[in-house]
């Protein structure tokens, strides 16, 4: 026999759906209540999360051993090949990171040279498929506040979007909402890089002519112009390809980030805020 929904069910459904829509609308406005609720939740969840993670780590490691085996093997093969190549051609010659560091130096853009920094451990990766944020174990107690840039030795990781006493949340460069002003090394052209989700490269909307030539593997660094959210000269990535932007008026660059945000263990928070 078929069962009809009990009376009152429809009312409750409508009330809860309307309530959810209200939450979405309220949440979009970045109201203080939502913000403080999320901060409180972070304070409560983080320690519990750490404890459960520690207990379940053998199982998770086994899982990664099984599911990532091919990937790890490929990476190992690739690294071996790269190492051989590197040794042959002189260490670091083919390394994009080195190239960027050189370019940054030549442009007199110190990569966060004289900025105070804090090293933090990554406590957890993205918590859902639609989240592009990681949690770190340093917070306001260590001087970390919202808006600070986060890097590794390789380059830009993201930006602090929430900080409580002992934890902080980092919005990754791959977040579809992430924007950073960049400069194409060498050419010096400015543009805005935006994330496009996990595993996808960044896209730079430039003001360059669609006919301009940008060589593959050209470095892209933060521009730091005007009231930029980042200091200048942080390596972001290398140009993978160029194409005509929508509208055909400007060149669009596809940029492979230097940092693999899926494989982070430690990051560095630059204690720097936009001036």
């Amino acid at each position: 026999m078929a069962i009809s929904p009990p009376t009152g069910s429809r009312t409750r459904t409508i009330v809860l759906v309307v309530a959810s829509i209200t939450l979405v609308v309220v949440g979009l406005r970045d109201v203080a209540v939502v913000r403080s609720l999320r901060e409180s939740a972070a304070d409560v969840v983080s320690p519990v999360e750490g404890a459960v993670s520690a207990v379940t780590s053998p199982f998770r490691n086994a899982w990664h051993g099984i599911t990532d085996y091919e990937e790890l093997k490929e990476e190992n093969d690739r690294l071996e090949a790269e190492l051989a190549e590197s040794e042959a051609a002189g260490i670091g010659q083919s390394d994009a990171e080195q190239q960027l560091a050189d370019l940054s130096a030549s442009l007199d853009l110190p990569f966060a040279g004289d900025v105070a920094k804090v090293t933090a451990r990554v406590v957890s990766g993205p918590r859902s498929n639609f989240s592009h944020a990681i949690e770190i174990d340093k917070g306001t107690d260590d001087g970390v506040v919202e808006g600070m840039p986060v890097v590794t030795g390789g380059g830009l990781v993201g930006r602090i979007t929430q900080a409580t006493g002992s934890t902080a949340r980092v919005e990754l460069v791959t977040d579809p909402e992430f924007r950073v002003g960049v400069r194409v090394a060498g050419a010096g052209d400015l543009g805005t890089a935006r994330g496009r989700g996990q595993d996808d490269p960044l896209v730079v909307d430039s003001a360059m002519s669609p006919r301009a030539e940008v060589a593959p593997d050209t470095g892209v660094v933060t521009s730091g112009v005007d009231r930029s959210a980042f200091p200048p000269g942080i390596p972001v990535g290398t140009v993978a390809e160029t194409r005509q932007g929508s509208g055909g008026l400007a060149l669009e660059l596809v940029v492979e980030p230097l940092v693999d945000v899926d494989q982070l263990s430690y990051v560095t928070v630059l204690l720097w805020l936009p001036g």
Partner: protein
């Protein structure tokens, strides 16, 4: 019969346990590059055992809880889970002849639906979640849903008892 006073306590316990396990354990296990969703499995189990009424209630509550620990638009999980919970409840209640595999199929379908719904609604409110990522996410969510829904049903029976309008029992008769 479950003591009715115990139901809210047990339900809260289940919700918190699901949240902690999701963020500290399941979120780190990737299937095809995407993450499974334990919270959704609980919502599906609620819809299957208690109909649309319970489905939408669990969907809303678990969604709000999940939204609190995410950086995604606040309320979006609550909205999508509530809609999926309601639909699962309606579909589960409408099935006349069922076998033991129906919950598994429904849970898998709900996982895929959630992935598409979340991406679509996210784009509607201006967050450009890539649609290209939907198949992988749908797959991961469908797989976790299919694997975990049967134990999740038992958990829901522990919370609410069998004596409430128990659609599964009626379906299996």
């Amino acid at each position: 019969m479950t003591n009715r006073r115990l139901v809210p306590v047990r339900a809260t316990l289940v919700a918190l346990a699901a949240l902690v396990l999701q963020v500290s354990f399941v979120a780190d296990l990737r299937i095809a590059g995407a993450i499974g969703d334990l919270m959704l499995v609980a919502v599906v189990a609620a819809g299957l055992t208690g109909g649309p009424d319970r489905g939408v209630a669990y969907g809303f509550a678990l969604g709000v809880l999940y939204d609190l620990v995410l950086d995604t638009p606040f309320g979006l999980s609550a909205l999508t889970y509530a809609l999926v919970g309601y639909t699962v409840g309606v579909v589960g209640a409408a099935l006349v002849r069922t076998s033991g595999w129906w919950p598994v199929l429904i849970a898998a379908a709900a996982g895929a639906a959630q992935a598409a719904l979340y991406t679509s609604l996210g784009n509607l409110i201006g967050v450009s979640y890539p649609f290209g990522a939907v198949p992988a996410i749908a797959l991961a969510m469908a797989v976790t849903g299919a694997v975990l829904v049967l134990p999740a049903l038992r958990v829901m029976w522990w919370v609410h008892g069998h004596n409430e309008p128990d659609r599964l029992e009626m379906m299996f008769r």
